[in-house]
């Protein structure tokens, strides 16, 4: 009997496909998310837009909050550790969280090295903006990917940029001749073996969700249409006027992302979505996606 194998860790993410993972900060929100049909929740101390507003150093959530959420729901619970923070990750693993997000939403603990995620029994999800970054994270042992987007903005433009880029680069690798792959690996800064695997499979070897700016049912459906396997919604639900309605509508739009009449119906009377931020108004230091490499 083996625990923590690639199949078990990657398989867990496979089971989340077609679903929505929602950021929550307490038991009450976690129950709303579960009730709406979320496939998992991300337990946090603050949603990304509040982290942005609060400034300062953002760290792993208080374990009490993570525990409260774990006790409240039967769906999987994820939690965020700072990039490269070995101990935060080990603490979350020891608590039994189901997935760790090594996340740029928190202030990085290490500006040079990401975690060696192969060493853990718990699976990890990591952000990416292009195939080089995606392949480096897989090389370190990430079992699931998500676009970085620009967290806490309610603006989908960066997530669109990232998913298009990753998928275009995957298509390119798949269509390349094998003798061209080493040079492509060098150019992307990607592990050669991962590119070989992508070419063999015809796709990424792990599930890739969209994250960082999803605020409406149409945003979620857009990401699915662009090839995401599922969607993370951070601030988009609990910073909207009617979280329960938004949560349900986003879940349905993700399942039926090509049923436009349905999306029209379920987008009616939702109230105001979270207030968004224009990306160009962010100072370089405020851009979370540039954290990690």
């Amino acid at each position: 009997m083996l625990t923590g194998t690639d199949r078990v860790k990657r398989g867990m993410a496979e089971m989340q496909k077609g679903g929505v993972i929602m950021d929550v900060v307490n038991a009450e929100q976690a129950k709303i998310a579960e009730e709406a049909g979320a496939v998992a929740v991300m337990a946090l101390e603050r949603v990304p837009s509040d982290i942005r507003a609060a400034g300062g150093v953002a760290r792993m959530a208080d374990p009490r909050i993570v525990e409260e959420v774990m006790n409240a729901v039967s769906i999987p619970v994820m939690a965020k550790a700072r990039i490269g923070h070995i101990v935060e990750a080990r603490v979350l693993e020891a608590m039994g969280v189901d997935y760790i997000d090594e996340s740029e939403v928190l202030t990085p603990a290490d500006e040079e090295f990401h975690l060696n995620k192969k060493e853990y029994t718990v699976p990890f999800v990591c952000g990416c903006r292009d195939l080089g970054e995606a392949a480096r994270r897989i090389g370190e042992g990430a079992s699931m990917l998500r676009t970085k987007g620009e967290p806490g903005t309610g603006n989908i433009v960066e997530a669109v940029r990232h998913i298009r880029k990753v998928n275009a680069q995957v298509r390119k690798v798949v269509s390349m001749s094998e003798d061209e792959l080493m040079t492509e690996a060098k150019n992307l800064g990607a592990p050669y073996e991962i590119l070989l695997e992508i070419k063999r499979l015809g796709r990424l070897p792990v599930v890739n969700f969209a994250a960082g700016g999803v605020a409406t049912p149409a945003d979620a459906a857009l990401m699915m249409q662009l090839g995401a396997d599922g969607v993370f919604v951070g601030s988009g639900i609990f910073k909207s006027e009617n979280p329960a309605l938004f949560a349900k509508a986003i879940v349905e739009a993700t399942t039926h992302y090509q049923d436009y009449k349905l999306i029209a119906e379920l987008s009616k009377n939702l109230g105001t979505p979270m207030k968004g931020i224009e990306i160009s108004s962010l100072a370089p230091a405020e851009r979370m996606q540039d954290r990690g490499w």
Partner: protein, 196 residues
């Protein structure tokens, strides 16, 4: 030639379709209840059972699924799918589809860090089968007409109740298609009977 559907509301749909195709049958993703009329057997995939249930209710799938079962068509539930098929669920008053005569406990092996791979002997299928368990349920109790196909550490992890097949693990996550092929045979036999 039989056609088998995979309920495609959420979860590991692609893997089941690939596994069915590897067994040489036509496979389709079922997103709308009307599509159930086109198929001879149905796989309920792994995923989150609570999410699937919400979407089943939302799109009024439940009656159609129960009718599909009542028509004698074979159904195969893996992990979350087994939870959907079971007549009884530990800790819940109501089942979901509730057609397979077993009592199932959710997440009974623990959380994700306890998820594992193990080699299983599956009756009539394989003496050694690579089984991937992810936050898996198990069958606590099986009715008298239920054939127990596999156990892991004393717990029932695969069983057949007539036209219904269920397992705790994920045969779709490996390249070993023998268990899927077993279900394909069930579907062929059931279809044969209706044609006679």
């Amino acid at each position: 030639m039989v056609k088998i559907g995979v309920l495609a509301l959420q979860g590991a749909v692609r893997e089941h379709i690939q596994s069915l195709e590897a067994c040489g049958v036509e496979a389709i993703a079922i997103k709308h209840k009307e599509e159930l009329n086109e198929i001879d057997g149905l796989i309920l995939p792994g995923g989150e059972s609570t999410t699937m249930r919400r979407l089943i209710d939302k799109y009024d799938f439940m009656d159609s699924l129960k009718k599909f079962a009542a028509d004698g068509k074979p159904m195969f539930g893996t992990c979350a799918g087994l939870i959907l098929l079971a007549k009884n669920l530990v800790g819940y008053n109501e089942p979901h589809i509730g057609v397979m005569d077993v009592t199932v406990e959710r997440n009974s092996f623990g959380r994700q860090v306890d998820s594992f791979e193990a080699d299983l002997a599956i009756r009539n299928v394989a003496t050694s089968f690579p089984a991937v368990f992810i936050r898996a349920p198990h069958i606590v109790e099986a009715g008298e007409n239920v054939e127990i196909l596999a156990k892991h550490e004393g717990r029932i992890v695969a069983a057949r109740d007539g036209q219904f097949l269920g397992c705790s693990f994920h045969p779709e996550l490996t390249e070993d298609h023998r268990f899927t092929a077993y279900f394909v045979e069930m579907v062929k036999e059931a279809k044969q009977k209706t044609l006679v």
